[in-house]
């Protein structure tokens, strides 16, 4: 079986500064894969290399085909939803317009999807005419998930969903990610600093250190791994 997403020796740079020094990773269909690492390890850049919003070299394959020179909008049309750093909320638009933008790559009626999204996030219904920028951080993170879900992606790229949120909300968000994965079969590549939580939810993980994959394996193995415990789990 070939992986849904495969990175081979991917390098990326911002101007003169190299941020990724040859990252290889694979995400199988139906899995949640986490990318862990400290600040500046290249986690966000890895996602940006996939959606081609950073200058990259090396090969990125999706569903067996190289992504080539497709821009971010082209990558989105292939069925990859990317919730970027800062959540990519359209703050000036309403909640419902944000959801419609999530479904921008699709044709046809959105009624059924809307119902399904509302079954995960019922509170969105009463807020649908509210400007998205007036939502709290946690609500915006859930809106970002809902927006990505409206795209009906084959692969969801999530950048630090826990950033800036209260622990209760973070748990809630990871619970929903797990639910989307189990019930909808959504494949997820999630970047996360909170290794403890990410390893509970993800099936497997990669640990990045200064732009390289330092460790990888099933979550259970990594949780038991001596250096992961010391560096990222803190016990």
């Amino acid at each position: 079986m070939t992986a849904l997403l495969e990175l081979r020796d991917v390098e990326a740079r911002y101007g003169q500064v190299k941020a990724l020094h040859g990252v290889s990773l694979a995400v199988d269909e139906g899995r949640i894969v986490a990318v862990l690492g400290a600040n500046g390890a290249g986690k966000t850049t890895t996602l940006r290399a996939i959606s081609n919003t950073v200058r990259r070299s090396g090969e990125v394959r999706f569903a067996g085909r190289p992504l080539g020179r497709r821009g971010p909008d082209g990558v989105a049309r292939l069925g990859i939803a990317h919730v970027p750093e800062g959540r990519g909320t359209f703050a000036e638009l309403t909640v419902w317009e944000n959801l419609r933008l999530g479904a921008y790559t699709r044709r046809g009626s959105l009624g059924a999807d809307r119902e399904r999204v509302l079954s995960y996030f019922p509170w969105l219904a009463e807020r649908r005419h509210q400007e998205a920028g007036t939502l709290s951080g946690g609500e915006q993170q859930m809106l970002a998930l809902a927006r990505a879900f409206m795209q009906r992606p084959r692969l969801l790229l999530l950048d630090e969903p826990s950033l800036g949120l209260a622990p209760v909300l973070v748990t809630e968000i990871f619970r929903i990610i797990r639910e989307l994965n189990e019930q909808e079969g959504l494949t997820v590549l999630v970047v996360e600093q909170n290794a403890h939580l990410a390893l509970q939810v993800a099936h497997s993980a990669y640990v990045l250190e200064v732009g390289r994959v330092a460790l990888s394996g099933p979550s259970a193995e990594l949780r038991a791994h001596e250096s992961v415990r010391r560096s990222y789990l803190g016990y």
């Binding site: 990519g88 921008y104 790559t105």
Partner: protein, 331 residues
């Protein structure tokens, strides 16, 4: 949660009580009472609305570009003038006025997108000043091309709405003014529907507000910008054709003063606000007409300085314009 729900419920009330809206309501009441009491006043108000609708259309074109590309397109007026010449040429070739009118709108759309593709896109990510200079260069280029092709002398076009004047009591209103007003309002409403209710419109708004996030959800940002420039050119073409119809003459300087009024209207409305541009244009048109009527030292020569005096006064009180939002940034 409950406080949010409460503010939601009070929203209509709070909207109505905003100072800007109070000012607008006061202005509307003032105009209405004036129109009922004086025939001259009514006549000048309607003429002013027609004039203001033209300013508003061109102002809206400026705002569309400003929101998408973050520059004032100094060539907007000259492009409007050039498209009016294209309509003139079509009519010279024997095309009926309204066929020429709609053909010109289509040509304007193509020209607008072409300008974005060929002149703006290559410099867009360099710097704002580079884009501004390109638009100034386009101003000179278009002006030169039109003068070279059609000459600088005065041309005449048929009157689209005829020369009729209606009389209601003692109020004389020309068909031309009513036609201009209706046409501009329909154009603006059409654009509003496009932006508010269609997927394309949503994509264009998203691309203008958040280009990076828009690309990630699959919006073709470059294409949206080009379409935006095309639509702005269409608005300009309507403004140009209606300006010609009001002045009865066509010459290369057709839109130069109108562009300045439109700029004043756009800033008055808040520069970021499409509704503000239209309302600003209407207010400016009516105001200038009434001042010209009742304040005797304001002659035609003083219209433009007076428009800018008003603009200055408004900006001193409300620097973000009538409809502008004060930007609050977290640091």
């Amino acid at each position: 949660m409950s406080t949010v729900a409460a503010t939601q419920q009070n929203r209509p009330l709070r909207l109505a009580l905003r100072p800007v809206n109070l000012v607008l309501v006061a202005a509307a009441v003032f105009l209405l009472v004036g129109c009922l009491r004086s025939e001259i006043f009514a006549q000048q108000t309607v003429a002013g609305l027609a004039q203001g609708a033209v300013y508003g259309s061109l102002a809206l074109a400026l705002v569309l570009i400003y929101r998408a590309t973050e520059v004032i397109n100094f060539a907007q007026g000259e492009l409007a003038m050039a498209t009016t010449y294209i309509a003139f040429q079509l009519i010279e070739w024997g095309v009926p006025y309204w066929a020429a009118f709609f053909a010109t709108l289509a040509i304007a759309f193509v020209l607008g997108t072409a300008i974005e593709l060929l002149a703006i896109r290559p410099v867009q990510h360099k710097s704002v000043i580079a884009v501004v200079i390109v638009t100034v260069g386009l101003f000179v280029l278009i002006d030169g091309l039109v003068t070279w092709k059609w000459g600088g002398d005065i041309k005449f076009m048929p009157a689209p709405f005829g020369q009729e004047v209606y009389h209601w009591g003692g109020v004389a209103i020309s068909r031309q003014d009513i036609g201009t007003l209706i046409l501009c309002v329909v154009t603006v409403l059409g654009l509003w529907v496009l932006f508010r209710f269609t997927k394309l419109g949503l994509g264009m708004r998203a691309a203008a507000l958040r280009p990076a996030a828009s690309a990630l959800v699959g919006v073709r940002v470059d294409r949206m910008l080009a379409i935006g420039w095309g639509l702005a050119a269409v608005l300009g073409a309507v403004a140009g054709l209606m300006t010609e119809a009001n002045q009865f003459i066509l010459q290369p300087s057709l839109m130069q003063a109108v562009l300045l009024y439109a700029f004043a209207a756009a800033v008055l409305g808040g520069l970021e606000s499409p509704a503000g541009a239209v309302v600003g244009g209407l207010l400016l048109g009516v105001f200038l007409n009434l001042v010209g009527q009742y304040v005797h030292f304001v002659t035609a020569q003083l219209r433009l300085p007076f428009a800018f005096a008003v603009l200055l006064a408004v900006l001193l009180v409300k620097p973000s314009g009538l409809f502008g939002k004060r930007t609050v940034r977290k640091v």
